[in-house]
Amino acid sequence: MLVFILRRLFNAAFVMLAVAFLAFAIFRVAGDPVEMMANEQMTQADRDALRERMGLNDPMLVQYGRFVANAASGDFGMSWRNGQEVLGLIGERFPATMELVLVATFLSLAIGLPLGVLTAIGRGRWYAEALQLVSIIGVSLPSFVVGILLILVFSVTLGIAPAFGRGEVVDWGWWSTGFLTHSGRAALLLPSIALALYQITLVMRLVRAEMLEVMRSDFVKFARARGVPRHRIWFLHALRNCLMPVITMTAMNVGSLIAFALITETVFQWPGMGLLFIQAVTFLDFPVMSAYLVIISFIFVALNTAVDIAYAVIDPRLRETK
């Protein structure tokens, strides 16, 4: 058990080191930091001095080591675009993205689960097939298109929800929340729907597939033969059996939702990490880009590792297979 957990943690650490190397490589390979920072009047001597001061003349390995050490202590340097410390910039925006992702995750379960059950138990009926078709359209529409359509319908035509931003936020320590004000909650509405749509269809399809499989299993057949009422079978046995994979997928997908939020954030001008990242990409603000990459991957890897370990704790058989 302990060996398994240690091995998973070691694995995660290795992956993070490699991601940090990628982030470091982007920073160094894609552009000469000195050329991007220097203003035009700067002389060659000043440039060389700056290069030395930033440690760009040291061997690559030393620079990489320094990058990892700094990153581990939360120091990602300064944004080239607005001269602020990168970690502070990302930290300011972290709550905005997380609240969006949390609401979207909640929506995906609240809507995806019932729809999934419905399509499974109604397999072959017209409404289930129609929902299946709608779910395919749901995975096929790019989320920026969904966002644009939502703005067009709900903010411009009907005027019932804000088109951009986060509304009023309340500071709660270092966390700023939009849950506590009316305008904050209203502003969450459209972006969280846009972000959740894809996830809703995923949950729905997963629930359907799992339900169908469970309902073919022997114990359900047996229960049916014994005369257990159908709705009892559906909700007590079948649904309970497919909750585990759904929760696993939801937990693991939080990472990719955070990443996908960058599209939603761009469309709705949501002041989160994703918008910051996209702006950094267009401005080639490499410190922000690499920090975002490292932080998102960290969340991703941490979630995956946690899920793996949790599974191993619950189900000892998994410990044997590497």
Binding site: V15, I26, V29, L141, T266, I278, V281, T282, I296
Partner: protein, 326 residues
């Protein structure tokens, strides 16, 4: 994992199960197959296939019949800008779906745009398939060090969300290209970006399948007969791993088109001089309130149709080829 015994072809050499052109020809065999049967019973799959075929044909034959080459700036004229679709009272022949703010014919633009989207989607899926199959086969067959290295590489890529990989590669590679190559290279950069984000999935699938196949009797026999490893891998193991990979590839084709559109929408994809569907939507988005709805609505419809039809086919293939759901 399904019980190997339920798969009838396992003890036969792969060549034997491939259809051959005997008296009982390919088409006849195909029509008797389960796949064809499930296809004829699935209206959404039929619809998806028809729409997809139509869109692909229309896009690739576009240069033969559309009024304009939207990629030739010499053919765009501001005098023709913002003409509404033909059914509108201000509509004008030959601009069936109207023109955009540059005088670009919308029909020509969305057809050329779909062509780019399809080419980029197809090329990136093909490339990631090739890389994924190669890596997966080698890792699964030889195991050991090769396996560890390749799979660790996969671990790393999988720990970064795919959209992020695509954005970073696209942004960095564009910057690395000299300015005069940036337009020509844009499509290539996109293919590279999407491929890098996608190949791991195939490699993993193939590796798992290969590791299973490798332990089978027919492989052991082939090895005893000193059949070269390359031949064993490509002639015997590979065909047996293709089914799940093929399903994944179909669904990923839709994803690749979406990724391309997203990158172009974010402004790090195809340039405005060779607009893909995503670029057209980005450009049109600035005119949402200006009364020229056609510059954004038609690209949106075309993109949605394209991806929906691909996914309908992919969805059917997945269910039809999944032994559990038969």
């Amino acid at each position: 994992m399904t019980d190997p015994a339920t798969q009838p072809q396992v003890n036969l050499p792969a060549d034997a199960i491939l259809p051959s052109d005997g008296p009982d020809g390919r088409i006849a065999r195909w029509r008797k197959s389960d796949l064809w049967y499930s296809f004829t019973r699935n209206p959404s799959a039929i619809l998806g296939t028809l729409v997809l075929l139509l869109l692909v044909l229309a896009a690739f034959a576009a240069p033969l019949y559309v009024p304009q080459n939207p990629y030739d700036p010499g053919q765009l004229d501001l005098l023709n800008a913002e003409i509404p679709p033909i059914w509108h009272s201000d509509g004008m022949w030959p601009f069936l779906l109207g023109t955009d703010t540059q005088g670009r014919d919308m029909l020509s633009a969305i057809l050329y745009g779909s062509r780019i989207s399809i080419v980029i989607g197809f090329a990136s899926v093909a490339l990631s398939l090739a890389i994924g199959l190669m890596f997966g086969l080698f890792a699964g067959y030889f195991g050991g060090f090769t396996d560890t290295v390749l799979m660790r590489l996969g671990d790393i890529l999988l720990s970064i969300p795919t959209i992020l990989v695509a954005i970073l590669v696209s942004a960095v590679a564009r910057q690395a290209l000299p300015a005069n190559l940036r337009e020509i290279g844009a499509a290539g950069v996109l293919v590279l970006a999407i491929t890098l984000a996608a190949w791991v999935q195939y490699a993993r699938t193939v590796r798992a399948q290969t590791a299973v196949e490798r332990k089978r009797e027919y492989i052991a026999t082939a090895r005893l007969l000193k059949v070269p490893a390359r031949r064993v891998m490509f002639h015997h193991i590979l065909p047996n791993t293709l089914t799940p990979v093929f399903v994944a590839a179909t669904l990923n084709f839709g994803m690749a088109i979406l990724t391309e559109a997203t990158l172009s929408f974010l402004g790090i994809g195809m340039p405005p001089s060779q607009p893909s569907l995503g670029t057209l939507i980005r450009l049109g988005n600035d005119f949402l309130f200006s009364g020229i709805w056609w510059v954004v609505v038609f690209p949106v419809i075309q993109l949605s149709l394209l991806v929906v039809s691909v996914n309908l086919v992919g969805d059917w293939l997945r269910d039809a080829l999944n032994p559990k759901l038969r």
